[in-house]
């Protein structure tokens, strides 16, 4: 108990130094947690993907459409349970800064494949029944103050014109990592419009979304689907939803690598700060450690005192950093609007913050504790003070 008291008093002995060190760790842990959450947000689409869903797109590129007629052939493949389809619409709501993902989809089958979009049954029926209807995510509805029955107008970029939709349903995510910023509407509604304005583009889809019975057969089914359309005018590329989403992440990999490097630099900075503090603390107290050695205390006692002190300093900073991450994330999300659909501080991030602080605490105690353990007692005792 007395040693614990000594450890705690030592940790806060040089108050200004300790407070500045704790502050630096707090900021570094806050920044690390933040960057880590940004990376998580980047991968949210990948994380939310299901192994029981495949995506089939044109083998040339994602922007090249596929004939709708492929649907029936895909459905006949053994192991395929549901086939839905859709198209990235890319509509703009009032101005470009109001970004949110919006898709034209086949409503019933699409919602069947995405049970994580939770919609009250009445609203779901109303959405499926009305061809001009749309379903909007909770966050995007809150962002623009939309409610059921409101009419919204999207300006088409890929599909020219102004498109009116009536909000018939608002979905919420089944888990905190489900994207609640998307808007879906009837593919048929868009297709009817195309038949009138651009008939050649009608009856084509951007992707097929396929529900399969057994995720273990995903690769086999994907090969079989692509085999159906080999040497056709529109060859397909089928992959798991996860691989499909990873393709998007890969496009921005350079940014992610930069964020990861900055995260590592932050850890190195914390390590240097705490190491410097501990080195100064121990150097100033060498005669005290020598006294303890003279009195018969072992190297284990000295190590416990020094490691304990550095861990207390780092963990204090880490706790403040972790606590501050939550309100900071809230402020950040509010400022970003719907640009980052999922910005959720995960348990893994908090655990990583704690592990990093603990590792830094231990690492920064190594050199000072070796110095204290190896200090020649007789020479240290002659130091004044």
């Amino acid at each position: 108990m007395l040693l614990l008291k000594l450890l705690l008093r030592n940790a806060f002995r040089q108050r200004l130094r300790t407070v500045l060190t704790v502050l630096a760790i707090t900021i570094a842990i806050l920044a690390f947690g933040f960057l880590r959450t940004i990376i998580d947000a980047w991968y949210s689409g990948v994380e939310a993907s299901s192994p029981a869903r495949l995506v089939t797109r044109n083998a040339i590129s994602l922007t090249t459409p596929l004939p709708l007629s492929y649907k029936d052939r895909i459905k006949r493949v053994r192991g395929v349970r549901t086939v839905s389809y859709g198209q990235w619409f890319g509509g703009i709501y009032i101005s470009e800064k109001n970004f949110f993902p919006n898709f034209a989809v086949e409503p019933a089958s699409y919602l069947e494949l995405y049970p994580e979009y939770v919609i009250p049954e009445e609203q779901k029926k109303a959405f499926i029944k009305d061809r001009k209807a749309c379903v909007v995510g909770r966050k995007v509805a809150e962002e623009f103050g939309w409610k059921i029955g409101d009419t919204i107008v999207l300006k088409g970029t890929i599909f020219p014109g102004e498109w009116e939709f009536v909000i018939r349903a608002i979905y919420r995510g089944l888990t905190p990592t489900t994207d609640e910023t998307q808007v879906f509407f009837h593919w048929d509604y868009i297709n009817e419009g195309l038949k009138r304005t651009f008939p050649l583009r009608a009856d084509h889809v951007g992707f097929f979304l396929i529900g399969i019975d057994d995720p273990k057969r995903a690769a086999e089914i994907a090969l079989e689907i692509d085999g159906l359309f080999k040497n056709s005018l529109a060859e397909t590329l089928t992959e798991t939803e996860k691989a499909f989403q990873m393709g998007f992440v890969a496009m921005t990999e350079a940014i992610l690598i930069t964020i990861k490097i900055v995260s590592i630099v932050l850890i190195i900075i914390i390590l240097l700060i705490v190491s410097n503090t501990m080195a100064m603390n121990v150097r100033e107290r060498l005669s005290e450690y020598a006294t303890l050695k003279a009195l018969g205390f072992h190297w284990i006692h000295l190590s416990l005192l020094i490691y304990g002190e550095s861990i207390i300093i780092t963990m204090t900073g880490a706790i403040f950093g972790i606590i501050l991450t939550f309100p900071s994330a809230k402020i950040f999300v509010d400022a970003m609007g719907t640009l980052l659909p999922v910005f959720h501080i995960t348990k893994e991030t908090i655990l990583l913050d704690i592990l990093i602080a603990l590792s830094v605490g231990i690492s920064s105690g190594i050199a000072p504790s070796l110095k204290a353990i190896n200090v020649p007692v007789q020479s240290a005792l002659t130091r004044v003070g």
């Binding site: 007395l2 008291k5 205390f297 005792l381 003070g385």
Partner: protein, 232 residues
């Protein structure tokens, strides 16, 4: 080991390396210290008296020779065994008191008892007894910076005796004190020797301090004078 002796030193030599030069600090020291003795070792700076004290206290190891304290040849002990031995057998009084600044007088005195496996109430009893001996119970909750130099040295003496050690080693115990405080500390050490029968080995270059001892030995250039002086 001679009857009645607590420390026996035979053919003790110690040298240090300074760069490429080897400096011989102690040369073939032979010394016997009796139980309950108050020995002062005097000598000029660099004579090797502190080195001799460190060797007796198990803080350093000799190049040659043996040091037998209460029947144990401490030159044969490992570092860990020496640490344990010091905790059990040696009480230290340093020139600069060497108290831990963030611990109170009570806590400083309690420190060596942590290695004894005593319960909280037992430790309290021991600490209070030691503080009573040095007449500082009223200052037990004060931190070293709130105490005078003399009081700090008395806390250090309480810390030295709290474990009831076999020997007490004191390295210039009055070197950092004014005359009055030095007298108080020396009086206390005399009491420890005379009333409590403690064996004290003190290194000093202060003749006034040395006169408090029962025996004075002179050390010069690493060689101990053959004759022992008995202060009148």
């Amino acid at each position: 080991m001679q009857k009645g002796s607590i420390v026996e030193i035979r053919n003790l030599s110690k040298s240090y390396r300074r760069g490429s030069e080897i400096i011989s600090v102690l040369k073939g020291i032979n010394l016997t210290i009796g139980e309950g003795e108050f020995l002062a070792i005097m000598g000029p700076s660099g004579s090797g008296k502190s080195t001799l004290l460190n060797l007796i206290a198990g803080l350093d190891k000799p190049d040659e020779g043996s040091i037998i304290v209460a029947g144990i040849d401490i030159t044969r002990l490992s570092e860990n065994e020496l640490a344990r031995w010091r905790a059990d057998h040696v009480g230290f009084i340093f020139q600069f008191y060497n108290l831990i600044p963030v611990l109170t007088a009570f806590e400083n005195v309690e420190l060596p008892l942590l290695l004894k496996g005593l319960s909280g109430p037992e430790r309290y009893e021991h600490v209070m007894t030691a503080l009573k001996i040095v007449n500082l119970t009223h200052r037990m909750n004060h931190y070293p910076k709130e105490l005078s130099g003399g009081e700090q040295q008395r806390v250090a003496i309480a810390r030295a005796v709290v474990t009831d050690p076999t020997i007490i080693v004191a390295d210039e115990p009055t070197g950092d004190l004014d005359k009055t405080s030095a007298e108080d500390v020396l009086e206390l050490m005399t009491r420890l020797n005379e009333e409590y029968g403690k064996t004290i080995i003190m290194v000093t270059h202060d003749p006034r301090a040395a006169r408090r001892a029962k025996v004075i030995r002179h050390l010069d250039k690493g060689i101990l004078d053959a004759t022992a002086e008995t202060p009148s």
